[in-house]
């Protein structure tokens, strides 16, 4: 017992003061990408490549980059946050920032364009907020991913992130849950189980899709063994992009949904 108490003293109180202040993030963390249209070789005069530059579109493993009116538009729902597009762009028009805030309420809001402001997730409406504001129990369903998202979803329960202090926790039975947190692209083999689990949750209920797989199928988007994300089976209320998302990104999304972070970007 004495050893345990001594250990507790040595280990200390380790819950981060977030959202009061931001924890230190890795310097090389690839957060929200920024598109600087003025540098894009496809558009601007100075760097213009004659036949048009498509390099970023070509190297993207998941077709997350499209050219809209010549400028790259990045779909964070598909993005795996790999360094390929940033590395390949000759004038450096695409650049990963350290910005961890990525979650959005609509699939369409996940698109990053030059100049346009990113629409972060809004809080639930007043009615749902009255129900879930201080207590949200989630049933996590892993539906065919690589268990990477599960790692970072799980991490939120550790003493560092301490999800419980916001009234959010993971529960065993869907009957006790208020929502589904889905990781993975939803394999054909998990479709029915996911539906059963969703139906087993009493209304009102929320669905949160975590990770590129759960939003768009991620790196498996071409495979017929999967369905291309949670939205193909159940209505999704919150999308949290990343491959896998940093725990802070997930926490930010959840707290935004519960209106604990305000609406500022």
């Amino acid at each position: 017992m004495i050893h345990i108490l001594l250990s507790r003293l040595r280990q200390g109180h380790r819950t981060i003061p977030y959202p009061g202040s931001l924890p230190a993030l890795p310097e090389r963390l690839r957060g929200r990408p920024i598109v600087d249209v003025s540098k894009c070789a496809n558009i601007s005069g100075a760097n213009a490549i004659k036949d048009g530059c498509q390099l970023c579109v070509e190297v993207c493993p998941t077709e997350a980059i499209n050219l809209r009116e010549g400028a790259p538009q990045i779909d964070l729902g598909r993005c795996l946050f790999c360094p390929e597009c940033e590395a390949v762009c000759p004038p450096g028009a695409i650049h990963y920032s350290g910005e961890h805030r990525l979650a959005a309420r609509n699939r369409e809001d996940l698109k990053v364009e030059g100049g346009a402001e990113y629409r972060l997730a809004k809080a639930l409406d007043a009615e749902l907020m009255r129900v879930f504001g201080r207590s949200l129990k989630l049933r996590v369903v892993s539906a065919g991913g690589c268990n990477g998202c599960e790692v970072d979803v799980n991490v939120l329960q550790t003493i560092t992130w301490d999800l419980g202090r916001f009234g959010i926790s993971y529960v065993a039975s869907p009957r006790h849950a208020d929502g589904l947190l889905i990781c993975g692209p939803v394999t054909v083999n998990m479709e029915e189980a996911l539906r059963i689990t969703y139906d087993a949750i009493p209304a009102p209920k929320l669905v949160i899709a975590v990770g590129a797989c759960a939003i768009s199928g991620g790196p498996f988007y071409k495979q017929s063994e999967q369905l291309g994300g949670a939205a193909s089976v159940v209505p999704v209320d919150l999308f949290i992009p990343g491959c896998p998302p940093h725990p802070l990104t997930i926490l930010d999304g959840l707290l935004r949904l519960l209106g604990k972070l305000g609406t500022s970007a």
Binding site: R175, E192, A193, I196, T197, D199, A200, A203
Partner: protein, 186 residues
């Protein structure tokens, strides 16, 4: 069968809820049987039974209110019992009576000596097996039955005494009388 069980359970519920009504008659039975006025302390005095009745009412009222409140919960569509999202549950997944009792049977194993057959599965690719367990009644099956059987076996050795001839039986009586006579004299 069911009707009889129903009547008995109703009687139990009645005694439980309004024990005052039963205390007086029970006391009368006790005093009649014992012949005296008061052998045991009156049931009526030992436990303040009217309190029980008084408490049964709020219990039922609270229960009723809670029931109404809980039953008034808005209901979603009925779903199958939660089975971890498995597609093909079957009847074998219901808990069995034998399993239900197993904890206590194992705990009391030193008295009950349950007989178990087919419990061990061996090999990497085993053939389907059957499991069977049986808990013999420790008194009837383990003491009374073997005891009586043993007695019957031993006593059957004395069968030869039952010859079936009247004269021999008369001789037994005579011998017995003689023995008794000697015993009286001595």
């Amino acid at each position: 069968m069911l009707a009889a069980m129903g009547i008995l359970s109703l009687a139990c519920a009645g005694i439980g809820l309004v024990p005052v009504l039963m205390a007086k008659p029970l006391d009368r039975v006790v005093s009649t049987l014992s012949g005296t006025e008061q052998v045991l302390p009156s049931l009526d005095n030992l436990v303040n039974l009217s309190w029980l009745t008084v408490l049964a009412i709020p219990l039922l009222v609270v229960g009723f209110i809670l029931w109404k409140w809980a039953a008034a919960t808005p209901r979603g569509k009925e779903q199958p019992t939660w089975g971890c999202g498995y597609l093909a549950p079957n009847a074998r997944m219901q808990y069995t009576a034998s399993s239900f009792a197993d904890g206590l049977v194992q705990g009391m194993g030193w008295v009950l000596w349950p007989k178990i057959q087919g419990g061990r599965v061996r090999g990497f690719f085993p053939f389907p097996r059957r499991f069977q367990s049986h808990v013999p009644d420790p008194v009837l099956d383990r003491v009374a039955d073997p005891g009586l059987n043993g007695a019957a076996f031993l006593l059957s050795g004395l069968r030869f005494l039952q010859a079936g001839h009247m004269s021999i039986y008369l001789m037994y009586i005579l011998l017995t009388l003689l023995v008794l006579l000697i015993w009286m004299v001595v």
